[in-house]
């Protein structure tokens, strides 16, 4: 008799588009239960830009993978079931801004990663 399957990895990709249609954020949440007893959450953050709405989006201009602080695991679990308005605003606002600033060398990569992770804390 077949037994219940056990999830060892799960990925959810949310696509967020800015109202002007020129920027897109893919906010991916990855749950990793491959290390046995511990669960690790990672945020895959990607920012895309285009000059005109009729142009296709090319490759991501910024890609950040942020391993979520274990203390935020419960919030990550909740966010995987849908981002709130505050989280969406943060992902498209400060997170995207800092990701771009880090890419341009204006701020440290760790600061940008922290801002991306802060998305989970938003209500």
């Amino acid at each position: 008799m077949a037994t219940k399957a056990t999830v060892i990895k799960m990925k959810v990709h949310f696509e967020l588009n800015t109202p002007n249609g020129l920027r897109r954020v893919i906010f991916g949440l990855e749950k990793d239960a491959t290390s046995g007893t511990t669960v690790t959450w990672t945020i895959n953050f990607q920012l895309f830009e285009r000059a005109k709405k009729t142009d296709p989006y090319g490759d991501a201009i910024v890609t950040l993978d942020v391993e979520v602080d274990k203390a935020l695991n419960a919030k990550a679990e909740k966010a995987a079931k849908g981002l709130t308005a505050g989280q969406s605003a943060h992902a498209l606002g400060p997170a995207a801004d800092d990701a771009k600033a880090a890419e341009d060398g204006e701020i440290d990569q760790e600061d940008a990663q922290q801002t991306v992770q802060n998305t989970l804390k938003k209500k």
């Binding site: 399957a5 990895k9 799960m10 588009n17 007893t37 943060h90 400060p94």
Partner: protein
């Protein structure tokens, strides 16, 4: 015989070994409580570190609800072949089984690119099962979909969900795939006999520089009839997360049609050129209703091979004509219901004249209800009520009068908006229901058609393991919640109070720049004194300034989120509140510099004004509007996930009532049949309806038969 020393050594070794084993077990229990399958259901993989326990990959499987589509299947096969080569019959490693395998799946891009606005999301699961005899099976589940947000309220779309679920799920608008599409069609009744044909469509990514999306030609013919339509179509979709205007979708079409249809007593024929436009509003009234509207101009000719047909008064057998049509509809979609009512007005003239020789009014109302009795055994009930009235102040070509029967005629040539314009009764062959007191063709009619089907045998589109998985269901729902949240922010950004905040950004920018300059000048004059306080103040000012600058001239971010964050009191944020604390309280508390006090006070006054204004944004209203906009999308997703079958065989019960006037009589047509639907590949209905109150020259009943086959170029 062993010596004493070796015996002692042996005993010591045993103790060390025993202690090592105990330590190893303890360590293993600390890090990984289970490395082999013990104390659990046989075959369960729960809590086992498969890599450390030395499992081997026995088998892999990929689950995608849309793998019945050849192009999805092809991608799945490619991915499966690569994953098989990577891990099958090899020692299990989490890196290969999860990370690398998912990378292969993502590279195959299971969600095709689309050219229109959709709500998109993707879920991927890697699961392990059947951990027995040192072997494990791997299952990869992918669920990706992209739904057009508003159009799903139309009853025409509901039929597509059932017959071709890949269309509403956004699995077909594949930009990179062939732009050519061909769909065979066939049907039978005793007037038209067996007819066959097809629809050929050319749908390139860009139609040169023309505002068009496709060119198509559709034809159907039998030894007794033909019907050909060639069309050029264009469309516009508003961005999903851009909210804003009331128009969700618009389309325009130029088409040429030619037909010849037998009536049993003579033939009616026509050819015409039509230009039409139609639009769909965003959902209104809390997301429960959307409106459609449109208009067309048409010119051509109508001809009749009279045979034994008797001409009614004010009716001509052959004529050129011009027509203007105006039409509107109201659609509403709930969890298990769709209601739609369309009204159409046709104003026509014989010849190219600016007068009204006839006017036609059509009301076409539809109700669809579906409910799963048991798991995916769908009871599907469709009712349709159509009313038509023709008034002739001048003359009218005979084919413009009402001819009824099994066939459907539509007021406009648009697959996505079908306003039925003739009395339909499946018990009478096509166009044979037309005899009235004043001659051939009705001036008034009504018809009511009930079709009920129950899926006795079926296979669910989404695997039952997923439809019963609560986590999966909530994550699926979460994707729509996320889009709703983004849309809510958009509507908040359209609030007048938000505009008032935005208008104060330049003043805040100036105030922060002035403060920055003043702090820098004061720092120079103080040497190393209060270095930490100066640093904290400068950092706070620079952070706030960076956010304000980005909000004024966005670099990579959306201003709403930036403003929301900089005005917040969240200590994790770069916020204006920190400027006052770092510069006025902490730094100037020691310096007592009047200029810095004045400048921080300016920043603080502006911050308070902006925060107060931002707080007045009606978030509840924005949330309601966003929820309303996505209501149809949420309901479509529910239908795709919970109701749609990959195949189903259903007994069908039909009951029709139709009346044609003046004094053409009322007919009743109960019937039964069978429907077979194989999602995307074919749908087939065969049945018989009895004409229980037949008129002169009419048969006892009619076999109705229709078949649709999938797009052969995919």
């Amino acid at each position: 015989m062993r010596s004493k020393f070796p015996l002692r050594l042996w005993a010591a070794a045993r103790v060390v070994l025993l202690l090592s084993c105990v330590a190893a077990v303890c360590l293993a229990q600390t890090e990984k409580p289970k490395v082999i399958e013990q104390d659990q259901v046989a075959g369960s993989c729960e809590g086992i570190d498969l890599e450390k326990a030395g499992f081997t990959v026995r088998n892999i499987r990929m689950d995608d609800p849309f793998d019945f589509l050849p192009w999805v299947k092809a991608r799945q096969k490619r991915a499966a072949a690569q994953i098989t080569a990577l891990i099958k019959d090899k020692p299990f490693t989490y890196s290969d089984a999860a990370d690398k395998a998912l990378e292969i799946i993502e590279n195959e891009n299971f969600l095709p690119d689309t050219s229109d606005a959709r709500v998109k999301f993707r879920l991927e699961f890697v699961t392990v099962a059947n951990c027995m005899n040192g072997n494990v099976d791997l299952i990869y589940r992918i669920y990706s979909t992209q739904i057009r947000p508003v159009l799903s309220a139309r009853p025409e779309e509901r039929v597509k969900e059932r017959e071709t679920p890949q269309d509403p799920a956004g699995q077909t608008t594949v930009v990179a795939a062939s732009p050519f599409h061909f769909t065979p069609i066939a049907s039978y009744d005793s007037t038209n006999l067996l007819s066959g044909g097809g629809r050929f469509e050319f749908r390139p990514r860009k139609f040169w520089k023309l505002p068009l999306k496709s060119a198509s030609i559709q034809g159907e013919a039998s030894p007794r009839m033909h019907n050909v339509v060639a069309a050029l179509e264009g469309a516009y979709d508003s961005e999903v997360e851009a909210g804003g205007g009331w128009l969700a979708h618009a389309e325009w079409m130029l088409d040429f049609a030619h037909y010849s249809l037998p009536t049993g007593a003579g033939d009616i024929r026509g050819g015409h050129l039509t230009a039409n436009f139609s639009g769909v509003t965003k959902p209104l009234f809390n997301g429960n209703v959307s409106l459609r509207f449109g208009g067309s101009v048409e010119g051509g000719n109508r001809q009749t091979e009279l045979g034994s047909l008797i001409l009614a008064p004010d009716t001509v057998p052959n004529a050129g004509f011009g027509m203007v049509k105006l039409y509107g509809a109201m659609d509403s979609r709930f969890r298990s219901h769709i209601f739609s009512a369309s009204y159409g007005l046709e104003l026509g003239s014989v010849g190219a004249a600016a007068r009204v020789d006839w006017h036609k009014h059509i009301l076409d109302a539809r109700h669809q209800f579906w409910y799963s009795l048991g798991n995916h055994h769908l009871l599907d009930v469709e009712s349709r009520f159509t009313l038509g009235r023709l008034r002739v102040p001048g003359t009218v070509p005979l084919p413009e009068r009402f001819f009824g029967g099994r066939n459907e005629e539509f007021l406009i040539a648009n697959d996505d908006w079908q306003i039925r314009a003739n009395p339909v009764i499946r018990a009478i062959p096509g166009n044979r229901f037309f005899q009235t007191d004043e001659g051939a063709g009705g001036r008034d009619f009504f018809s009511y058609n009930l079709t009920a089907a129950y899926g006795v045998w079926r296979a669910t589109l989404v695997p039952e393991e997923l439809t019963t998985d609560d986590d999966f269901k909530s994550e699926l729902e979460g994707a729509i919640t996320t889009v709703t949240s983004t849309l809510q922010n958009y509507y908040s950004s359209k609030d007048p109070h938000y505009n008032n905040v935005v208008s104060q950004l330049p003043a805040m920018q100036t105030a922060l720049n002035d403060l920055k300059t003043a702090v820098a000048a004061t720092e120079t004059s103080h040497g190393d004194q209060f270095a930490d306080q100066f640093k904290a103040c400068t950092r706070a000012v620079n952070g706030a300034l960076r956010r304000i600058n980005s909000a004024i001239t966005p670099q990579g971010a959306d201003p709403f989120g930036l403003i929301s964050s900089v005005l917040s009191d969240d200590p994790d944020e770069i916020q204006l509140l920190k400027v006052n604390q770092a510069c006025e309280v902490d730094l100037n508390g020691a310096l007592h510099d009047a200029n810095i006090t004045a400048l921080t006070s300016r920043v603080e006054t502006l911050r308070k004004a902006m925060t107060a204004e931002f707080g007045q944004i009606d978030a509840e209203r924005a949330q309601k509007r966003a929820t309303a906009d996505l209501a149809f999308t949420r309901r479509t997703l529910n239908t795709l996930f919970n109701d749609v079958n990959i195949y189903s065989i259903s007994p069908v019960f039909v009951f029709d009532v139709a009346k044609i006037g003046p004094f053409g009589g009322t007919r009743y047509g109960p019937g039964a049949g069978i429907r077979f639907e194989l999602a995307t590949t074919a749908h087939f209905t065969l049945g018989y309806a009895w004409n229980v109150k037949r008129g002169p020259g009419e048969g006892r009943g009619n076999i109705f038969f229709a078949i649709g086959v999938r797009d052969l170029f995919h």
